[in-house]
């Protein structure tokens, strides 16, 4: 077995372990459904929110039309306040990062998650390019900013 084959085998083992971990840790009531490219296209067409957990650079290079970019390392913070009963579809490049995202979402109580587990490499539909990154909705500033959203009671 050459080194490339070993790397591929270990990567496959890691992805499988991740999937098993997700299944083992899914809280009762959470539904995680793997979908293929056609399935994801159908979900997006039905208005299901599609989350791309790759980096902003990968997202800009090409993503599923209508997808929102929330890089994996920002997901836990970004989803605070999201409606956990709202169905979400997630994907990354090959399924490794989106598997972690599914774990995060199930832990946070999301009840319906669609996982495009084959990832962007298996996407054969139209590709949208450019940044529409939710995580980068704020422009860079000279100092950090704290927003307080309040109302007069």
């Amino acid at each position: 077995m050459n080194s490339t084959t070993k790397i591929v085998v270990w990567a496959a083992v890691a992805v499988l372990a991740g999937i098993i971990a997700v299944l083992a840790m899914s809280p009762k009531g959470a539904s995680v459904e793997n979908v293929d490219a056609a399935g994801l296209a159908g979900l997006a067409g039905d208005g299901v929110r599609v989350i791309d957990v790759r980096t902003a650079g990968e997202f800009e290079a090409g993503h599923v039309p209508g997808a929102e970019n929330v890089p994996l390392d920002q997901l836990a913070n970004a989803l605070a306040g999201w409606d956990t009963s709202q169905p979400l579809a997630v994907y990354c490049a090959t399924g490794a990062r989106s598997t972690e995202a599914v774990t995060t979402l199930t832990r946070q109580g999301f009840t319906k998650i669609y996982h495009f587990n084959a990832g962007m490499v298996a996407w054969d539909g139209e590709v949208e390019r450019g940044a529409v990154a939710v995580a980068q909705a704020f422009k860079p500033t000279e100092t950090p900013v704290m927003y307080e959203f309040f109302t007069e009671w």
């Binding site: 920002q74 913070n77 970004a78 605070a80 306040g81 999201w82 409606d83 709202q86 939710v134 995580a135 980068q136 909705a137 704020f138 422009k139 860079p140 500033t141 000279e142 100092t143 950090p144 900013v145 704290m146 927003y147 307080e148 959203f149 309040f150 109302t151 007069e152």
Partner: protein
């Protein structure tokens, strides 16, 4: 309490206190991030990335922790 923190962090962190019922920017941000609760605190780093979001009333020590972690 937030007033006191605003004075203390003057020059280090910009405080934006927005009422979504009166401010279009606030309602736009809240819609974009699916924020539905009031109060909500959102901490944004210099590069525009969201560092943290706190839903609901927060204690001063918790706000300080988030403010100090901003980059």
């Amino acid at each position: 309490m937030v007033d006191r923190l605003e004075q203390e962090y003057e020059g280090k962190v910009l405080f934006k206190r927005l009422n979504p019922e009166e401010d279009a920017e606030a309602s736009s941000i809240m819609a974009k991030y699916n924020l539905t609760s009031i109060p909500t605190f959102m901490f944004v780093n210099r590069d525009g990335s969201v560092a943290e979001t706190l839903i609901g009333a927060a204690e001063e020590s918790r706000l300080r922790q988030s403010l100090d972690a901003l980059k």
